[in-house]
Amino acid sequence: MEDNILIYVRNITIGFPNLKTKDIQNVVKNISFQVKKGEILGVVGESGSGKSMTALCMMGLLPKDVLVKGSIYFNGIDLLGLNEDDLRRLKGKEMSMVFQEPMTSLNPSMKIGRQVEEMLVLHEANLSKEERRKRTIEALGQAGLSSGETIYDKYPHQLSGGMRQRVMIAMAMICKPKLLIADEPTTALDVTTQAKIIELIKEICEVNGTTIIFISHDLSVVRKICDRVLVMEDGNLVEEGSIEEIFTNPKKSYTKKLLKAIPIIDLDNKIEKQNVSKEFKLLKPTDSEINSSPINNYKLDSDRILEVKNLNVYYQDQKGLLAKETMTHIVKDVSLYVKRGETLGIVGESGSGKSTLSKTIVGMIDNYDGEIILPNIKPQMVFQDPYSSLNPVKKVGWILEEPLKLQTKLKKEERKERVRQILRDVDLDEKYADYYLSELSGGQRQRVAIGASLIVNPEFIVLDEPVSALDVTVQHQIIELLKRLKRQYNLSYLFISHDLNVVYQICDRVCVMYNGEIIERAPIRELFVNPQHEYTKKLLKSVI
């Protein structure tokens, strides 16, 4: 083995025993690859193709009943042959990992600061308490969490999706490991933050000689930072090569398909079906727009499905039992509306209050003032974090069937049929109906969540980062599905995403959120062509 090889994965097969049929289902099939020291290796591929499983396998973190064949050499040591203690010594210090799902991967009852700091406690025992704290806050800051001091004392559920992701990154990098496996580390980050993080990763790689395995769906990011790429499909390693080779001269049909599906913002081809151009250049909604009729006996414009007026949302913070409660003002004086058959996009900085806004709209947060008018509609919501928003003890089939049971009078057979249909729609095999969520990949879970919200064709759906964990082909398919349903049933969406490509493809109008406020709103094309606010300009610069 060459000296400069850090990781050598040889003939790895990962299989799950199926309790019912008693056979073994291989989710990673006999793959081999090598990673050089200091290299950044990108791993792309179909959702559910075994990327995360391979990564977990390297870290020795697969569930207990999994069967693994093959060997993984780290610096010449066979990881699979190591005993528990020796393997443990490598973890955290020598190799660390950013997990795909940051919500469930953080301990819900432990403060963020302590969770990050723990790395130092475990691996740099000589540090004093103050030093540890300093380093922790520093690491959080590097990961783009400038207010490290306040975040230190928060619990995971008090952070936004992107903030959690950055916490995970800070945690994985704080000890400057030799190998960093990052499984979709930037899915929940807005492009500006993403750019910052990627800079950081690159820098770390250069300064510390860290080797990085970077699993991502975002091919443009992969292209930007990786040296080499692996392409996976259905458990197989279909192609391997340098960035140039793969992106310019793909050999395998899957790779080609993947590259073709990369969404490109083609400003000229965007067909303008909407007649909303009047709104152009509005920083704040005009009075006439909001108060189109007197407040007292307000009736919603028949074509408006949602109207939000001067909404302020707060979170209660209580530090310790005896402390007084304080209120944090998160969403500040937000007004917006969604028309029937329209898709309103919300983009914005991570932690700016997008999820908070959407949760308030669907009625999950009570601490608000202002008005939310949602006449006679049951909005559905796709949560940013699909894993925790779906019932963990139920099978996928049950979860998908539940809304049908609740909202339709379909017979059992019809319901089953609908479930099969929606599974196909979101590009999941029917067999997954029999799976628990814990047995799915990140992207598969996300698709289940989308399926569950779409299955009854609700008039209005709030989607919070619905496609962040999907590979571009599936992403494309989902977006097409959403568009089709929208046309077919005249659905309306409130679509939150940091992925401007996606936003561009699906949204009719966009609001840009920054620090709890809507700083800009415009029809989609206008926004891209002619951004007004500084932040918006910055956002767009990092894409186009």
Partner: protein, 262 residues
């Protein structure tokens, strides 16, 4: 939630419980002797071929008594847990989910019931509906409610904050469905252990009631009653205590082994 493999405990539990059930069912149709038949000549005779488990202080065949006693004990424990767990779960679910004044009121009642002396409660039941097996079931069942209510409530308090619950609300599930279809299955591991512990407690409570003479009335047999009757003969006729004791242990052991691996 991961599917867990069925392991040795499961099969061991299955075997034990099957044996117990066979034993009990057989006792319904046939016993080697009349379980209440006495004989002065046979008083306290040790196990022999004629009396495999020996005889008690009335010369009654212990094997026959264990057979019918196991049935009584099993039924009492089973229904006690059924009553306690079902009502307790409902109360725990409602209070945990809704919280507020409702919770406050029911939980205070619950505290009251939990602190109310069980003997006094049993006496009240006895005075209202008389003694006997069914009365014990009712009294014990009521006594068991608070513990289930507490445990399920505490589970609900944590679970109701989860996003999947909020999501279920959005899907249009009514409170009832959210509580019992969405949240409840998530309490399964805790619920299962409390059922198993409850079964156990019920068997023991039955024997304690017999010990306090409020349980099954003589000459009817129950395992608990036999144990407490056997107590004075611990040294002179140890078989009297050993066989019902083994039966109780088997019953509880089998049940919880089975339970553990569900």
């Amino acid at each position: 939630m991961r599917r867990r493999k069925k392991n040795i405990s499961f099969y061991l539990g299955l075997i034990i419980i099957s044996l117990v059930i066979i034993f009990v069912v057989m006792g319904i149709f046939w016993t080697p002797y009349d379980p209440n038949g006495m004989s002065a000549a046979l008083k306290n005779s040790p196990p022999s071929l004629a009396h495999l488990f020996g005889t008690d202080n009335f010369g009654r065949d212990i094997l026959s008594r264990v057979m019918v006693g196991a049935k009584t004990t099993f039924l009492v424990a089973f229904f006690t847990v059924l009553i306690g767990a079902s009502i307790g779960t409902i109360i725990g679910a409602l209070t945990g989910y809704y919280g507020g004044l409702f919770d406050e009121v029911l939980m205070r009642l619950n505290d009251g019931l939990a602190s109310f002396p069980s003997i006094l409660l049993a006496l009240v039941f006895v005075s209202i509906i008389g003694t006997g097996k069914y009365n014990i079931i009712l009294a014990l069942g009521v006594l068991f409610i608070p513990s289930y209510a507490r445990i399920i409530r505490s589970e609900f308090i944590t679970l109701k904050e989860k996003d999947f619950v909020k999501n279920a609300e959005l899907m249009g599930a009514n409170d009832f469905r959210i509580m019992f279809v969405h949240i409840l299955p998530n309490t399964k591991p805790i619920f299962i252990s409390s059922v198993s512990i409850g079964f156990n407690n019920a068997v023991l409570a039955e024997s304690s009631l017999s010990y306090l003479n409020l349980g099954v009335q003589p000459p009817d047999a129950s395992l608990g009653r036999m144990l407490s009757e056997a107590q004075p003969y611990l040294f002179t006729a140890p078989w009297y205590v050993i066989f019902p004791g083994i039966m109780i242990i088997l019953m509880i052991l089998g049940f919880s082994l089975l339970n553990d691996s569900v």
